[in-house]
C-alpha cells in the first residue's frame, strides 16, 4: 500500500527548516516535556493506586478473637471462616494459618500436627511440612493486643514460625 505514492516524496525538502533560536526552543521543548511527564506521571501513579482497594468487603484480614483469658491454656481454637488457628500455650499465644501451602485446602488440627484432607500433606505442631506434596510450612500470623485487651489477628502480617505473643495474664 505504502509504495503507491513514492513518486512524489523525493520532491520534499530534506533540509531542516531554518531554526529560530534553536537552543531556546530546545529548552522550552525539554521543559514542556518534563512538565507533562511529571503531571502525567503523577496522575498515572494516582490512577494506579486507585486500583488498590483501601477497604474490602470479604472477611477482614484483621480480626479480633476476644480476650486472652477466654482461651484456656493448651487450647487450639480454629476460626474456619478466616482459616486461622489460635493456640495458647501457657501465657504464649500464636495464630497459625490452616491453609495448606500446597493448594489451599483447609488443614485439620490433630494431636500430632496438621493433616491436609486433599492431598495428604502433613505438618507437625509447629506447622513445618513433614510429608506429602506441601512445599513449605504453614504460615504464622502476627498477634497483637488491642487497647481494650482483645487479641487481634492480622493476616496481612506474617511472622516467623515459632513466634509467640507473650501476655502476662
Amino acid at each position: 500500500m505504502s509504495e503507491g505514492n513514492h513518486g512524489n516524496q523525493g520532491k520534499l525538502s530534506k533540509e531542516r527548516p531554518p531554526q529560530e533560536g534553536g537552543s531556546r526552543r530546545r529548552f522550552i521543548g525539554l521543559a514542556t516535556a518534563g512538565a507533562l511527564a511529571v503531571s502525567g506521571g503523577a496522575l498515572g501513579l494516582m490512577a494506579a493506586v486507585f486500583f488498590k482497594p483501601r477497604v474490602t468487603y470479604g472477611p477482614p484480614p484483621k480480626f479480633r478473637v476476644g480476650k486472652p483469658a477466654s482461651f484456656t491454656s493448651g487450647s487450639e481454637i480454629a476460626y474456619q471462616k478466616q482459616a486461622v488457628l489460635v493456640r495458647r500455650e501457657g501465657n504464649r499465644f500464636a495464630a497459625i494459618s490452616t491453609k495448606c501451602t500446597h493448594l489451599g485446602c483447609t488443614v485439620n488440627a490433630t494431636d500430632i500436627g496438621f493433616l491436609c484432607p486433599c492431598h495428604g500433606s502433613t505438618y507437625d505442631r509447629r506447622g513445618s511440612n513433614v510429608s506429602g506434596p506441601a512445599p513449605s510450612p504453614l504460615l504464622w500470623f502476627q498477634l497483637s493486643l488491642a487497647p481494650n485487651g482483645d487479641l487481634v489477628v492480622d493476616k496481612d502480617k506474617k511472622v516467623d514460625p515459632g513466634t509467640y505473643l507473650e501476655i502476662q495474664a
Binding site: G4, G7, A33, F50, V55
Partner: protein, 299 residues
Amino acid sequence: MQNLPHVDETRGKSILHRIWYSIFRSTPLPATALDRSQAVANNFFLHIHSAKVGERTLRFKTTLGLGLMTFFTFIILVVTGILLMFYYVPTPEQAYDRMLDLRSAVFFGSFLRNLHRWSAHAMVLLALLHMMRVFLTGSHKAPREFNWVLGVVLLLLTLFMSFTGYLLPWDQLAYWAIVVGTAIAGYAPFVGDEVRFIMLGDTQVGSEALLRFYVLHVAVLPAVLVLLIGWHFWRIRKDGGLARPREALAASAAASIPVPVPVPEPKDGDEPRNKDEPKDGDEPKDGDEDGGDGSKEKK
C-alpha cells in the same frame, strides 16, 4: 519483506532503533518536512489527518477549537469512565453505596468522579457550541451536508450518553430525572408506551432500567460514538477540509464541489500524496478541524 526505508536505515543499528521503527515507521522527533509528513502519514492515529493544513484552518478564530475540545472531553470521559467502572456495580442496592465509597474509601475516586461528571456536562455544552459555530460559519452547506447530519446524530448521542449516565448514581436527582425523561418518551405517538417499556425493561424505573442504562452508557453508546466520530473526522477530509470563504478560493471552476481537473504537472514544493487518500489530488490542502486524535502520539 520489501525494502522499506526504515529497514534499510536501521540495519545494523541498535535493537532500540529497530523496535522503534518496527512500531512507528518514522523518526522520533522528525525535523525535516519529509520526516514530518511521514510521521503524520505513517501513524495509525494521525494518518486520518493530512500532512499539511491550511494556515487559516489552524487559526483559533476559524473554529474556536470547539470540535476538538468536544472530542477531547470524550477522551477524558472514556478514560475516567473506564476507571470508575472498576468500582461501580449497577444494582439499586449497591449503586449509591458505591458512589459513597468513591467519595470516601476509594483513593483518587472523588476526583475521577468529579472529572467524569463535569466533563460530561462540558461535552454537551461544547458539542452545542460546536454546532453553533458550524452553522454560523455556513460550514454545514454543500458539500458538507452529510457531515452536518452526522454531527446532529452525534449531538443526540452525546445527550443520550449523558442522560444514561445520569441514572447510574441512583440518587434522587438521577431517579427522578429518568422517571420524567422516560415519561416524556412515553408521549411519542403510537409507540410511546412500548418505547418506554423497552427502555426501562419494566413498567417503572428499577433495577432493570439501571442495568439497561448502564449497558447503553458503558458499551453500546460509546462504541457507536467512536464509530461515528471516526466517520465524522474522515468526512472532514473527504469534504475538502474546513469550509473556506469563496473569496479565498480560486475564482475558477473548482469552487467547493470536487470537480475533475487535469492532473497538474508536478511542481516544486508539491506534497506527497497521502497514501490512503489517492483521490485527494496532488495538493492535500484539506485542513482538519477535528482530526486531533493524534494528540496522544504527539509527545
